[in-house]
């Protein structure tokens, strides 16, 4: 099951500029692992050494904030990763 994942602008250097990519996983953790297989290094930008979502990144599943990596994903779920932007 491949779900669409929206990548925040500042991290699109990892995805070759792609704004939306596909990744598979039964849980959010699995999904991020799959994303990291396709785009090496990107997981570490989302998740810290203690396996927590970094405080300046937010992950939303179907527009609701996901605070746990063991969150189960379903077919058709849409994942959005957001980060703080600084430009004005």
């Amino acid at each position: 099951m491949a779900l669409s994942v929206k990548i925040p602008g500042p991290l699109r250097s990892y995805t070759g500029g792609a704004a939306t990519v596909l990744a598979a996983g039964a849980t959010l953790a699995d999904l991020l692992d799959d994303l990291n297989r396709q785009y090496p290094g990107i997981r570490f930008r989302f998740i810290d050494e203690q396996q927590r979502i970094r405080p300046h990144m937010r992950i939303f599943v179907n527009h609701d904030e996901a605070r746990r990596l063991d969150l189960r994903l379903r077919d058709q779920d849409q994942v959005h990763v957001l980060c703080a932007l600084s430009g004005g």
Binding site: P8, G9, P10, A19, D48, E49, R54, P55, H56, M57, R58, F60, H63, D64, E65, H80, L82, C83, A84, L85, S86, G87, G88
Partner: protein, 373 residues
């Protein structure tokens, strides 16, 4: 004081709206809004709030108008290159609406002056281009009980949200801390010129609604905009009980309390410290070079140890917190971030080489090779 004939005529299209009317227009006239940053976001926001009749506008910015600003900063024109933004911006707003008052604040917002600058206003509109300022503005608004409308942009994307004291989560509930690695601003990443026009007018809309108490402001909702896909999205977020500023037991009770900064040490001071330690037969401060290995190999200070900034959080436990540490990088930016990280982790003495190795090469040792970042 009732609206004058002039005001009735100027704001007649507002007066026709039942959600505004005479009472609403009088509220706007009595309102005081501080615009932080007269840039891409602040420009359209200031123009529309002035046009709408917000009685007192403050513009806070210490920059001068540059040619590259004019691609998006519509408050200024080509004849004003080099002029102070707050001065020419104020003149433009008063030309648009002479019935309002506009105050210039040609200073940088800091932890020390936040209370004095933000205190007199009802609402802050944040259009700054630095994350540190965004957190300072958010924290100040929570601490001083001010409404806040914040927006930020990057290339083709923007985001916006509002905060009302006691009624909504704050910016820190969404993004608890700023990233340690620096997110590029418009000067570094580029930005579609019309993008801040879209987000800045959203901010002005939110400000008017919050001041009037009408409609559904972006409280607990982050609105995002993608200009390339031409798509708006909305994300709900809740107040965090552990939020450092608006949570149940806040650790930030004064502006600027969250970001301890490492003591700056100049190249000359550092050379003296190292000399004195050597003369006394002491080990001296630990020198941690936080550049990338590639830069480190090209040239570094004697006895410096290389821990790239990206690995520092992980490797700080290798160092003793009571040890005196001087962080070093190319220009002083990464070392300052490293110092903040170390102080947060409990280090008692963290310093950062001011101006970095570029300054060391200039003042102490011209033979030192400083690799490009």
């Amino acid at each position: 004081m009732p609206l004058s004939a002039d005001e009735q005529s100027r704001y007649s299209r507002h007066l026709l709206l039942e959600q505004i009317g005479t009472a609403g227009q009088e509220k706007l006239r009595a309102a005081r809004v501080l615009i932080v940053g007269a840039g891409g976001l602040g420009s359209p926001a200031a123009l529309y709030l002035a046009a709408a009749g917000v009685g007192t506008l403050g513009i806070l910015d210490f920059d001068h108008v540059e040619l590259s600003n004019l691609q998006r900063q519509v408050l200024f024109d080509s004849s004003q290159i080099g002029e102070l933004k707050t001065d020419v911006g104020r003149a433009r707003l008063l030309a648009l609406n002479p019935l309002i008052e506009v105050t210039s604040h040609a200073v940088e917002l800091t932890a020390a002056n936040a209370s004095e600058l933000i205190g007199p206003y009802d609402l802050v509109l944040d259009g700054s281009d630095r994350l540190a300022t965004r957190y300072l503005v958010n924290d100040s608004c929570v601490i001083f009980g001010k409404m806040l409308v914040t927006a930020a942009i990057h290339r083709f994307e923007g985001q916006a949200m509002s905060y009302a004291p006691g009624r909504s989560p704050c910016y820190r509930c969404l993004f608890p801390t700023a990233p340690e690695d620096l997110i590029p601003n418009c000067a570094e990443a580029g930005v579609l010129g019309v993008l801040p026009g879209v987000l800045g007018t959203i901010q002005a809309t939110e400000a008017v609604k919050l001041l009037l108490g009408i409609g559904e402001p972006l409280l607990g909702r982050l609105l995002t905009y993608d200009a390339l896909e031409m798509r708006w999205q909305e994300f709900s977020f809740a107040r965090r009980s552990d939020c450092a500023v608006c949570g149940d037991r806040p650790s930030i009770t004064r502006p600027g309390e969250d970001a301890p900064s490492a003591a700056p040490v100049t190249a000359v001071q550092l050379r003296e410290l190292l000399r004195q330690a050597a003369a006394a037969g002491e080990p001296g401060p630990l020198l941690i070079d936080v550049r990338e290995p590639r830069e480190f190999v090209a040239g570094h200070l004697d006895n410096a140890r290389n821990i790239p900034l990206g690995e520092l959080a992980q490797r700080l436990p290798e160092l003793a917190t009571e040890q005196s540490v001087v962080f070093i990088c190319r220009s002083g930016r990464r070392s300052a971030a490293a110092g903040t990280m170390a102080l947060r982790a409990g280090f008692q003495h963290a310093a950062s080489l001011e101006g970095g190795l570029l300054s060391w090469a200039e003042t102490i040792d011209p033979r030192l090779t400083v690799a490009p970042a």
